[in-house]
Amino acid sequence: MQLIIEAIGFGIATGAVIALGAVGFSVQFGISNILNITYGSLMTLAAYVGLLLINHGVNAWLALVLGAVVVGVVSVVYHRALLAPLVRRGTRAIAMVIVTVSAGIILQYVIVSIAGPESHSYGEQSGSTLHLIGFTLSAGQVAIIVLTASLMLGLHLLLTRTTLGKAMRATSSNRTLARSCGISTDRVSDIAWLISGSLCGAAGVALAITTVSFDFSLGSLFLIPMIAAAVLGGIGQPYGAMLGGLIVGVSSEVAAAVSNPNYKDVVAFMILIIMLLVRPRGLFGAAWSTRRLMEG
């Protein structure tokens, strides 16, 4: 029983990182209607930017903030320079996926050719071990849980309480209508890509802080739990992605504790396949943005 409680604690920490990534991924899909697979490689980029900074003596948490800013800016440029023009040229959704996969591979191998294929580590960043209500977590994990919770709260307030958030939600649900209401949808989507790219960067550095060592495949392997979380919550819906991240994190850590730890990702995968076959709109049903997933 103790084992399972510990696993739940671990799962919340894993789930926090997954939620960070999945929310950003979902926001991008919601605002631009693009499934951006480059996201995984952008997380890897953030992890290596963090590594560079930490090797130069920067504090790990400052590295997380800087990594988030760098990837946020890169995401805006990437969307502006490549994805948005392709969409304007009428490129079909399926070709867009191939473009984002290709761009991810290019970025991944640019990273490899600069940083080399070997594994890297941030060194000991997790700090002392804490015991909280039966959970045993490192200070680093607790910090990431707190960070995720506050970022999610911040995003919630942004989306619900500000004009910008209202404009983002309007653009997400109907771009044409939003534009005819006088919303500058291009600027709104730039800001959305900046926010989601920053979440992507934060998730990449957070992932590297919590893992023992990482290499260039960090982000592409993380795509499995992240997409599972996004789909579970109904892709395009940030709140769904938060809950999805938590569910995927906890269930895969518990499964790893009671069976073979190598099969951690299998749980996420099973969730994804079952959701796709049974309820592709996500747990919370048919928000406008997810309805677009169906052909009919």
């Binding site: 191939i98 290019i106 499995i224």
Partner: protein, 322 residues
């Protein structure tokens, strides 16, 4: 001689790549199923070929563990590889049957590809885990090495010939027209009485068999097969051949294979080696591959040799990934 050996390697790679690209073009270019897990069917063929020829797992001092373990004759092992590709291809195809957006399906298949690789690498008892299978016997081991190499080229060429004849049955004539109709508008196709779901599964099976045969031939030639040979990005190499060549066109994708798989990926081998980073030319290969895919989708989505438009009276429809 070195150049002769190089030529043999190139011809075998060209042949196996052609088979795989034809299969993927049948699925993606002709029928509109974006199978980003295509490399999994190639792997299924290769592993099946390996366990059909390696003999029991206790052989060779038992240094590798795997399920099955038979000593089938070479042609039967090839057939088994193709069959395994067909079965796995159909299973993957089932995930694509739900009427979802095509890009959503493609991402699901990408995740399938990542997942299968993770499981096979983790489970050492199934197919020897991440170390993979080695010492797969060469069918012509008894012959003089030079004759054996060319004999293998002949086998690959024969398989390509048979493959091409089968392929044309599906990409031309009534079946080809039906598949293209399904790709362009599956609602209209089913309204015209075509069994869209059945057709999709048949295409997945046939395309899978092509991939399986390609993998089996490759495993027999290299003598080994491991998860590092079929990471998900390998699918992109085939996809790139399809897009650069001209999706939906058999001639186009064959030319695309020649350009991408042979000229481009082999060409980077001739870049000057930098001793401090030996893997650099391979990294460059992937970067160029990804870049050429994006460039073609941007500037020439119909590819070098586009699919021929059907000549009907009145307005003709065109199809391209753009």
């Amino acid at each position: 001689m070195a150049w002769e050996y190089y030529l043999v390697v190139m011809l075998v790679y060209l042949g196996t790549d052609l088979l795989a690209v034809w299969g993927l073009n049948l699925e993606f270019g002709v029928s509109g199923v974006a199978n980003l897990a295509y490399i999994v069917v190639v792997a299924a063929g290769a592993y099946t070929f390996a366990i059909c020829t390696l003999g029991p797992s206790s052989g060779n001092g038992g240094f590798q563990t795997y399920i099955g373990g038979f000593t089938l004759p070479f042609p039967l092992a090839l057939l088994a590889g193709a069959l395994a590709g067909a079965v796995v291809g159909t299973l993957i195809g089932v995930t694509g049957l739900k009427r979802l957006r095509q890009d959503y399906q493609a991402v699901a298949m990408l995740v399938v590809s990542l997942m299968v690789a993770t499981v096979v690498s983790a489970d050492t008892g199934f197919l020897n885990g991440s170390a993979g299978l080695a010492l797969i016997p060469n069918p012509f081991a008894d012959l003089d090495p030079e004759v054996a190499r060319w004999a293998y080229v002949a086998v690959v060429a024969f398989c390509c010939l048979i493959g091409f004849l089968v392929l044309r049955r599906f990409t031309t004539g009534p079946i080809g027209r039906t598949l293209r109709a399904m790709r362009d508008d599956d609602t209209a196709a089913s309204a015209a009485g075509k069994n869209v779901i059945g057709l999709r599964l048949v295409v997945q099976a046939v395309g899978g068999a092509f991939g399986g045969l390609s993998g089996a031939l490759l495993a027999g030639f290299i003598g080994g097969w491991s998860p590092s040979a079929w990471v998900y990005i390998e699918t992109l190499a085939f996809l790139s051949c399809v897009i650069v060549g001209g999706m939906g066109s058999d001639r186009g994708v064959s030319l695309g294979t020649l350009i991408i798989a042979v000229l481009l990926l082999q060409g980077v081998q001739f870049l000057p080696q930098i001793s401090s980073s030996p893997g650099l030319s391979e990294d460059f290969g992937w970067i160029i591959l990804g870049a050429s895919t994006i460039i073609f989708i941007w500037f020439r989505p119909q590819g070098v040799l586009p699919e021929r438009r059907p000549r009907y009276l009145g307005k003709s429809s065109s199809h391209s990934p753009g």
